[in-house]
Amino acid sequence: MTSGTESVAPEPRWRQVLASLTPDRRRVLYAFGAAILVFVVGDLLHSGFASTASVKAILVIASFVGFVAAGQTFVILVGGIDLSVPWVLNGAAILLVTSSLGRDGRAAQAILLTLALGLVTGLANGIGVAYLAVPAVVMTLGMNGIMEGLSLGLSKGLTCASCASYAPKAVQNIVRSDVLGVPADLFLWLGIAIVITFLLNATTFGRRIYAIGNNDTAAFLAGINVRLVTVVLYMLSGLFAALGGIVLVAYGGQATLGMGDPYLFQSIAAAVIGGVSILGGRGHYLGALAGSITLVALVSVLLAENMPDWGRSVVYGGAILVILLLYGRERRHL
């Protein structure tokens, strides 16, 4: 982040740095602050909650939300939304196990095939939204149904012979093997976060995304191919939903029906908690990353507290509201 380059001054340095940040970047910091706060409170309530092993386990689960939220962030940045996440993810997970049949030799092809599935669904979403002017909510809602039907129908309700296959060991290792004492999956997440942050902040493609999100007419008049960029973003969203399916099946071993359902609302909530404006044009992936960690850590604290299902659901919704009220409000009218 942008620290350290400011000139020396007598006032507290942190305050200067904070003041020098844009509101969007401050929101990213708040999101990280919220994540850390949840860990601290969790550790106070439940000693050992912030231990290395526990933090690692929570971060791995947060990465699943984080991958899906990456795609969601891209489309939200241009004022869109992707409701097709649950069954693109679920279909991807089923495709991975059925095409690899659990063999390491087929892992690479299976992963490529699965990611291609994500890209194709995203392409269809993007064409519908950008070229055929179907509202994003409708297009991606329809696509979710289409993918649900195809996943259920082609796998015969997940009763097909190859449907019970496990993810290849090589794929399972993404989540299960440690590199330098840290799960490989977390390095993948870090790498993706760096690439996306670079893409959004230091490339013309990234600037185009923000331009479209702020005002698509102005962006069009400035010579940006708004439709093409939109299609690419929906493809990225599909790609990341498929990636979410791959790591989730790597974690659980097998594909299950409905495994993608929690990831729709969690991916949107993570992005928004991280300061990504649902109206488009504002926000950073690092915020969504912090939002994913906050959400998953919060659920973990509630689980550690043995809070019943219903209480978790209520606290979860309440926490999102509190965070939104703290910094998700729009400007006052007039």
């Binding site: 939304i81 297009m139 696509m143 129908g153 949107i268 209480g311 939104l324 998700g328």
Partner: protein
Amino acid sequence: MTSVTQAEHYRSRSRFQHFTIQSAPLLLALIMLAGMAALYIGLFYRQLSRLPGNFEWTSVVNTSMPLVFAAVGQSIVVVTRGLDLSVGGMIDLTNGLAATHMHAGTGSMLAWSLLVLLIGGAGGAINGILVAYGRLQPILVTLATLSIFQGLAIKVLPEPGGAVPLEYTKFLANPNGPWGLAFVVLIGAAWLVFRRTRFGVDVFAIGNDEEAARAHGVRVRATKVGAYVLAGMFSAAAGLFLAATTTSGDATSGDVFVLTSIAAVVLGGISFFGGRGSAIGTVAGAFVLTLLINVLFFADINPLYQSFFQGLFLVVAVLLGTLIRRLVGMRG
């Protein structure tokens, strides 16, 4: 097209053309309903060599009613340019409350129906206040309250079960005849009145242009709260109808209505950009969705592919709607 030529277009249209363009989405929804009903009758006849009778139509009406109510509530919010995802949680909660607390006897049934509607209104008020006074985006507020309502529903009814008095089922979802249509007529009449009240005009004004509405003295925030309160009450009514048709409760059975209510609104021709549409179209949209499930069944389509055809139908219907509206608009 520049604004000047648009304005000229506007003036050059006749009254009849205006009416057609304004009501095109509603007409399309009704045509779609007629088409879907014809398809249903045709497929039914091919399979059973007779026309669908009282039993079949009653079942179509009774299974449609919860969606009709949920979707009409959703329509009011969508007209203000909002979205209510908490519909599902509110139906879970109210359905659970009805199944656990309602006892035989007119007093209990009436009291609990009213109480459940009030709870729906209160939930809607929370949404509305957070949206209007909290200045939060509707989709995010209702995402959070969806989770809260779902949690409360599980608290009320941890496992599927409970029961609704038989007389209640007879009243709301009479299995002997499509009497539920009486409620549809009531909704239609209420909508026509609503459109002519100050509140109704304000709701549409906000959806068309919030700033302009504010400048014209519309009490934007209060009106928005009102819209969400109504939506909450309609969701509660949907929960009651669901309890009546299934004669028991399930704290997760309302979840599907988040997406189906949006689908019905879309098929009903209500614009997602606010300020346009009719709840009568939404009612047609809700019936289209129920009929579609029956059509797929009688077309011998593997039920596993049901969502595929529903999703495809939604996208294609919206595409066709856009196309036809463009053609109609261009003629003017």
